[in-house]
Amino acid sequence: MATQIVLEKETLKGAASNYISRIKSGDIGSLPAVLGLVSLVAVFGAMSEYFLTNRNFANLLTQAAPVMVIAMGLVFVLLLGEIDLSAGYASGVCGAVLVLLVTNHGWSWYTALPASIAVGALLGTLIGTLVSRLGIPSFVVTLAAFLAFQGVLLLLAGEGGTIPIADKTILSVENSNLTPMQGWILWAVTSALYVATGLNRINSRRKAGLVVELSQLWAMKTGALLIITGGAVYELNQERGLSAANSTKGVPIVAPMILVILVAGTFLLSRTSFGRHIYAVGGNAEAARRAGINVKRVRTIAFVLCSSLAAVAGMLFASRMNSISPSTGGSSTLLYAVGAAVIGGVSLFGGKGRMRDAILGGLVVAVIDNGMGLLGYGAGIQFLVTGAVLLVSAGVDAVSRRGALSN
């Protein structure tokens, strides 16, 4: 009963009961996504003998990558309680810019890619300015942008046309793998940095006399994470080629790329004042304004980040399909991305969610897509199931929010 919790002796039991009371009060975090992912993998693994193979696992990652990247961009916008319906086609437009520059104008990938991301940033600035300065609801602005970008993409690609891309570097992102050794080095370096950051945080908090997370609990969580990621690297390093002549093994190159975006986004959201302001605006925009936060600027930047990441996703689409077509980033792409973020635990009401939720939710969406396909269900059933999962997650979000409010 004091603010001066003099390093109160926490126990694992206490931590567990804290966690349970947090869940009861509506702060469920990513629990539903984790449970959903585990049960989906179990079900599909039992029903399809191909689902749990190395080849399918690698395939799943490259399939999920573009949607995950769009979803990570959407996290910024969703945290504000806004929405960006145009992110899917923004990725198409930016992908088309990239492919056109490389294929038709002979640019190298390292100049064309920044240019396409700059186009994404420009689109985001436009949307963000309309939303924050003119006060048009983001739903309407981005719905208009959704239609307009679709038109731009058609004009860029030409009716019915596709633009191929042959640049080796861009194609390798979704189609090549790290060598097994590189995969292990990546895992080791990332793990070491993760552990060092965690230890550093615990130490400096202890030095300052602040309450410290139970070190056993931290060690357990970190250990579990290292084992899971290590296992994934191990599996991906196994031979999964169809013939001896066509050897394929290693972590897909897109994985470290997603990792970089995840780390950078998490850093931005949880360690910088800009990230703090995003949460503040999403939680209570009026309070943020009175606290001297430039709410309009925060809103605009969130949309810029969202569209810029959509541009990165456009590159992934181009890499995966070897081309850009008028339907790139269209149909269900955006809705899958929003679904991924929400399933992962990002609240549609704003103010709640993390970068990693987009990854977790993106995996759930990809597993449904992939597993149902393997079981031979058509697109109709797949859409129905994905829709149902999204509805359940949004429902859980709304109900847990009500639970939190009634406290």
């Binding site: 702060d27 006399g209 602040l210 360690r271 503040a280 309070a287 606290a291 936060i293």
Partner: protein, 249 residues
């Protein structure tokens, strides 16, 4: 009485044809709780917003520590050490207590937030106010009771070595026990040497913690008197009619 920390002299403020404040004089003393009372529409909020720099008076002087100042915006007020705790608190439910106390004024180490120094300072401030009712300062504000939320809002206001704290109806939505907690906190603020302005409709609260009472009536300062010199009935008369026989201006 000691010399006032903040003095308003002859303040006038109109919104179009509506003359809201008419030659208002108002004094705020360090180490004292000055209650600002008045019926709805008497001009309390407008007067506060002139102090906060949200409105600029058309005429009149504002003296801070004896010197004439020009409060032309909220930032000027903050720079002088004037903090307002609004009725709707302006807290972000999804952030924890530390985050809320430093909202918009985060401490940084390089480009990253300095969570450790913020948390230490937040805890020191809460301890300094003898707040012992929150379990962890890392819990989100949404999990706090009304009184605890008010406490966080007040603690945020005093975090910045502020000199004047204006509280707009801090107990309006609270139960009996929580009202008592907050009133104790208000008293402690004044005892620490801050100049506290308490806007309230509740005369019991006012008579419990205030040192001075200033009553606004239809945009005019009906009277600013010491609490010991008036009775509740006289204050009610001041609020409802603008004058009271036992009270001289």
């Amino acid at each position: 009485m000691s010399t006032p920390l903040l003095s308003l002299r002859g303040i006038n403020k109109s919104f179009g044809p509506v003359h809201v404040l008419k030659d208002v004089d108002f004094d705020i003393y360090p180490g004292q709780v000055t209650a600002l009372v008045g019926d709805n529409g008497a001009g309390k909020s407008t007067l506060i917003k002139c102090i906060a720099g949200i409105y600029t008076p058309e005429s009149g002087d504002i003296l801070f520590e004896g010197a004439k100042v020009d409060i032309d915006g909220p930032r000027t007020a903050t720079a002088l050490g004037i903090e307002i705790v609004y009725q709707d608190l302006a807290l972000c439910d999804n952030l924890d207590i530390v985050h809320n106390m430093f909202l918009g004024r985060e401490e940084k180490k390089g480009i990253t937030l300095n969570e450790i120094s913020m948390e230490s300072l937040a805890r020191k401030t809460l301890d300094g106010l003898n707040v012992r009712t929150v379990k962890s300062i890392r819990q989100t504000v949404s999990s706090l009771s009304g009184g605890q939320r008010q406490t966080v809002a007040i603690a945020r206001a005093v975090l910045w070595n502020s000199k004047v704290v204006v509280l707009d109806e801090p107990t309006a939505a609270l139960g009996v026990a929580q009202t008592e907690q907050v009133l104790n906190l208000v008293r402690r603020l004044a005892d620490k040497g801050l100049a506290v302005v308490l806007i309230s409709h509740n005369l019991n609260d006012i008579f419990e913690v205030a040192d001075n009472i200033a009553a606004l009536y239809l945009g005019k300062m009906a009277a600013q008197v010491k609490k010991n010199g008036v009775t509740k009935n006289e204050v009610i008369e001041l609020i409802t009619t603008g004058k009271s026989e036992g009270v001289t201006k």
